[in-house]
Amino acid sequence: MPIATATKRKKLELKTKIMERFAGVKRKRIFVDSLVKQKQILTQI
């Protein structure tokens, strides 16, 4: 496989992984925020 093609494929793989990770971090941060709120409510009881 030509180097350029292999690199391009590798980049595509990495791009997909990066986008997946990014979405994961974003989603988990939203979840963390809601847990923080829950904790606040329980602490205030």
Binding site: K11, K15, I18, K28, V32, L42, T43
Partner: protein, 705 residues
């Protein structure tokens, strides 16, 4: 050796980093709430990022994701722990009970039944849901199960059940044999009824409720065939009445009589004679203090304490307190300089004593007064007493102490230091002593005779002292340091003295400005607004004098500095009354002296808001009804003066206070006080948030437990 393909693969993985700040880029994406996949895809496709860059970005994001996973796990654990606390469980359970009760009381009982199994199985000395006992009592088909549950609670959580005995008094289900008896038997098996009664009394949110519980425990024990150690209960209650927590601790024995009546109502045989005697002993100890610390106003204060205790139902032992009062007065007469008797009023003490039917030993006190006047502590006091004897004797006569003037005078004149001397010689000696006193005085000096102020040596001594202690002369009432002198009668000399001082001060470092500010700052550390007001009382005259004789000072700077000091002092005021007193008083003084700043509403609003916030924040009282009690007064007084405050800040603060987590007793007290709190806040023009009310009411059922 690598093949070309292997080599190309190697090359593919080792494409060098481009130097782009990939960490910064990733963090920028994460921080941007609008960043979406399309934008990211476009940025990743820009061609400048190498595989090494992309690998690094993936590594960073993986690390971020791992960290978020860890945070989620930590929060889950923390929330889990919070959910395990009794308080949280209670709230959630109360919610569930309320919902079920509204739909189907039997389902609610079923839930209660499960709770009993669950909690008591765990060995907890706790069970929720008993607050619905009244309702459960009315559902015939569950009475057998209810009885079994109550027996179980009686066995495993006796204190919880004992607190609910008043609800069980009329519980007599027709379809269950000896239901109440069986529960009572289980409750008292192997337990001391007195201990149970006292424990539930102690846990009650009010003594009223506590006494009811004691009655219920006693009746239940009796019904179950157990006796209660009445003496043990009575001793506890006696101690409670004498030592009960008193939020308003400035006078003892609040509701003394009411508590005794409650004990009576609960048929607790307290020893009232012993209680009264002990209350008197405690009071006597409280008001018998070191005579040196006992000016007449303190004696009056102690009489006021007695009066308040009497109003609360303490039977004042007049013989005991007549003795204490006579002793206090004797101590006062012996310790205080004769000259002070001229200024002090015994009338208030005598009136207070009369109100309490305390008898003063007038002949003993007259003897002590005669003895004290006849034995001056030094030559100065001797002269002072002689010079002022007429007015002193007249004053004491007006107050009910008719002393033998001629005898006292004759005795004083026999003293070798005055015997045979003419009036002129005595005056000269008094001047000599006064000049010496001025030379070493740190604080006030006392002129033994008003007329001596015309003496040139006295004037010079005062001038020298005024230069040495300029603040004493410039401020206050001018001749404040010269006790015994009528400043008004000597206005010309007062002005002369002031000019003399002011002129010297203007040559000091920083001049008049610095001197005034330094002086007021020093006052500021020690006094509250009333003291500062006194210090400012002659500022107008001082500045007029400076204006008249062109003594330099910067009025604008002085005004700013003095106003700042005034704010500082007002901000420290603990009492609302003092704040407004100070505010009115000081601003009049500043206005008169021409130092008042133009009304800066935002400045005023700021300090006023601080005052209001201060009165809700420290909440020293245990009683929630007291927390906001000063706000209506603040509101009214501010309204009268057109002062605004930051209502939003206050509103938020109050709502936050009312939802602060508290222990069970605190929650109960706060809930019970809610109607009064609302009424108080209403008067102060402050409303509570719906959420706050909900949050407090949420506990309504729970509170009754």
């Amino acid at each position: 050796m690598a093949t070309p393909e292997q080599s190309s693969q190697k090359q593919e993985f080792t494409e060098a980093p481009s130097g782009i700040d990939v960490e910064g880029l990733v963090q920028e994406w994460l921080a941007d709430p609008d960043m979406d996949m399309l934008h990211i895809s476009e940025q990743l496709d820009n061609g400048e990022l190498t595989t090494a860059d992309l690998q690094e970005m993936e590594r960073i994001l993986t690390e971020e994701e791992d960290q978020e996973d860890q945070r989620v796990a930590d929060l889950h654990k923390e929330i889990g722990d919070l959910l395990k606390t009794e308080k949280t469980q209670d709230v959630m359970i109360v919610d569930e009970y309320q919902e079920l009760m509204g739909q189907d009381p039997r389902a609610s009982f079923q839930f209660f039944h499960e709770q009993v199994q669950k909690y008591l199985k765990k060995g907890d000395d706790y069970v929720s849901g008993l607050f619905f006992l009244e309702e459960f009592k009315d559902i015939p088909e569950i009475q057998e199960d209810l009885k079994n549950d109550l027996v179980r609670i009686a066995k495993l959580a006796p204190l919880v059940l004992a607190a609910y005995l008043p609800v069980l008094e009329d519980w007599n289900p027709a379809n269950v044999k000896s239901a109440r008896f069986d529960v009572y038997r289980e409750l008292f098996k192997g337990r001391d009824p007195a201990d149970l009664a006292l424990k539930v009394f102690e846990n009650a949110s009010s003594s009223h409720l506590g006494f009811n519980r004691v009655v219920a425990v006693r009746d239940a024990a009796k019904e179950a065939g157990y006796g209660m150690d009445e003496r043990k209960v009575a001793e506890y209650v006696e101690k409670y009445i004498l030592e009960r927590p008193n939020g308003k601790s400035y006078y003892p024995f609040v509701d003394f009589k009411e508590q005794m009546d409650l004990a009576d109502g609960a048929q607790i045989q307290i020893d009232k004679t012993k209680l009264q005697k002990e209350a008197n002993t405690i009071l006597a100890r409280k008001i018998s203090v070191d005579p040196e610390l006992l000016p007449t106003w303190k004696i009056q204060g102690s009489l006021q304490s007695l009066k308040e205790a009497k109003d609360q139902g303490v039977a004042i032992d007049t013989a005991l307190f007549s003795g204490v009062l006579n002793q206090n007065l004797l101590g006062y007469i012996e310790q205080y300089p004769v000259a002070r008797l001229l200024g002090a009023s015994l009338v208030g003490v005598l009136e207070g004593a009369k109100e309490l039917s305390l008898s003063l030993n007038i002949s003993m006190l007259k003897g002590a007064l005669t003895e004290r006047i006849n034995t001056p502590k030094d030559e100065k006091e001797l002269l002072e007493t002689l010079f002022n004897l007429d007015s002193l004797i007249k004053r004491l006569k007006d107050e009910g102490f008719d002393l033998h003037y001629e005898d006292i005078k004759a005795k004083l004149e026999q003293d070798s230091r005055v015997d045979g001397k003419t009036r002129g010689e005595l005056d000269a000696r008094a001047v000599e002593l006064f000049v010496k006193e001025c030379e070493v005085a740190d604080d006030s000096v006392r002129l033994p005779k008003d007329a001596l102020l015309d003496n040139s040596d006295v004037k010079k001594a005062l001038m020298d002292l005024a230069i040495r202690k300029p603040e004493k002369m410039l401020f206050g009432s001018g001749l404040l340091l010269v006790f015994g002198v009528d400043a008004k009668k000597h206005e010309k000399f007062t002005k002369e003295l002031r000019f003399h001082v002011l002129y010297s001060v203007s040559y000091m470092s920083g001049g008049v400005n610095n001197f005034i500010v330094k002086y007021l700052e020093a006052q500021d550390k020690t006094v509250y607004s009333s003291g500062l007001s006194n210090a400012l009382s002659s500022l107008k005259e001082v500045l007029e004098l400076a204006d008249k004789y062109n003594i330099f000072y910067d009025r604008k700077v002085l005004s700013e500095n003095v106003n700042q000091i005034v704010w500082d002092v007002l901000d420290r005021e603990d009492s609302v009354r003092d704040w407004f007193f100070g505010y009115d008083e000081l601003y009049v003084k500043l206005d008169e002296a021409g130092l008042g700043l133009p009304a800066k509403s935002e400045e005023l609003q700021k300090h006023f808001t601080l005052l209001a916030q201060k009165h809700v924040e420290p909440r020293t009282s245990q009683d929630p009804e007291d927390w906001f009690s000063e706000l209506p007064e603040i509101h009214d007084k501010a309204g009268e003066r057109g002062i605004m405050y930051d209502g939003v800040a206050l509103h938020e603060q109050i709502n936050a206070i009312l939802v602060e987590p508290m222990d069970r007793d605190g929650e109960i007290k706060r809930y019970l006080a809610l109607p009064n709190i609302q009424a108080t806040l209403d008067k102060a023009g402050i409303s509570l948030d719906e959420a706050t009310l909900k949050r407090i009411k949420f506990f309504s059922r729970y509170m009754e437990q």
